[in-house]
Amino acid sequence: MVAWNKLKTKVCTTENILYKNSFDIEGGNFSNAGAVSTRIKWILKQIGLPDDVVRKSAIVCYESEINIVSYARKGKINLTVTPKTVEIEVIDEGQGIPNIELAMQQGYSTANQQIREMGFGAGMGLHNIKSYSDTFNISSEVNKGTFLKMIINSP
């Protein structure tokens, strides 16, 4: 992991933005899945955000990361931290979601056997992302990709 000193060079000087960065995620690479979320969690902790804000943000990032690894060719997480919010944008290139309403339902999943053997694919991912976020937006285009934007408020 990068030292905090190195990280500081990426901290924006723009007023009201404490930190902004983009993290690439490779589709299909299960051995490295979750590494970006581990890093984001560490960064948010270093910034000094409250534990439950860090935890909620980390869960949202992790579920999103697993979705990209499981279903997309590639994707990225854009993270923006302000004194009052953590904004998480998730953009992927892949199969997209034909029926968002259905995909949001608990228990609905299109996961294959490999994903299920790792303990995922119970159809909780998007529902979890929504329930841990204060603001949740989703849009998707079949055979193009999916866009998520979540905001977690910091008290």
């Binding site: 051995s31 899945a33 979750g34 590494a35 979320s37 581990t38 969690k41 534990d51 439950d52 935890r55 980390a58 869960i59 990032c61 992790y62 579920e63 697993i66 339902q105 608990q106 228990g107 609905y108 999943s109 790792m118 303990g119 995922f120 694919g121 119970a122 159809g123 909780m124 991912g125 529902h127 979890n128 329930s131």
Partner: protein, 124 residues
């Protein structure tokens, strides 16, 4: 209860985290479905599971899980142990099955991190 007592009750081997045995734990969550762990497990709880892949460690880190108890004699891979050391998450292994592990801990005062889920329709 201290993690050391959890180890004694479960006759468990400490694979990672010998230096954290004085940590206090009060609650636990048990499941082999990581999707459910992400949905329901609470910070500071023990995670009882039979899954040993690296995602268990990633999830424990994301959720601030206190320690992982691998049940049914499951042994973690070198990769899983390495990641647990890096992220400082204790791993204990017990030969008890999940039901026995939960029962023995409950009998000594550890409770679920939640009693019931909310009344929502879940398929599967």
């Amino acid at each position: 209860m201290k993690l050391r007592e959890v180890q004694e009750i479960l006759k468990a081997d400490v694979i990672v985290g010998k230096e954290k045995l004085d940590m206090e734990v009060k609650t636990a969550f048990g499941a082999d479905l990581m999707s459910d762990v992400l949905a329901f497990a609470k910070a500071g709880s023990l995670l009882l599971t039979g899954l040993t892949n690296t995602q268990v460690i990633r999830i424990a880190n994301v959720l601030d899980i206190a320690a992982i108890i691998l049940v049914r004699g499951k042994k973690p891979s070198a990769e899983t142990i390495g990641l647990a050391k890096e992220l400082r998450i204790p791993i204990l292994t017990t030969k008890y099955i999940l039901f026995e592990t939960a029962g023995r801990l409950y009998a000594k005062g550890i409770v679920g991190c939640l009693e019931q889920v909310e009344n929502k329709s879940v398929h599967n």
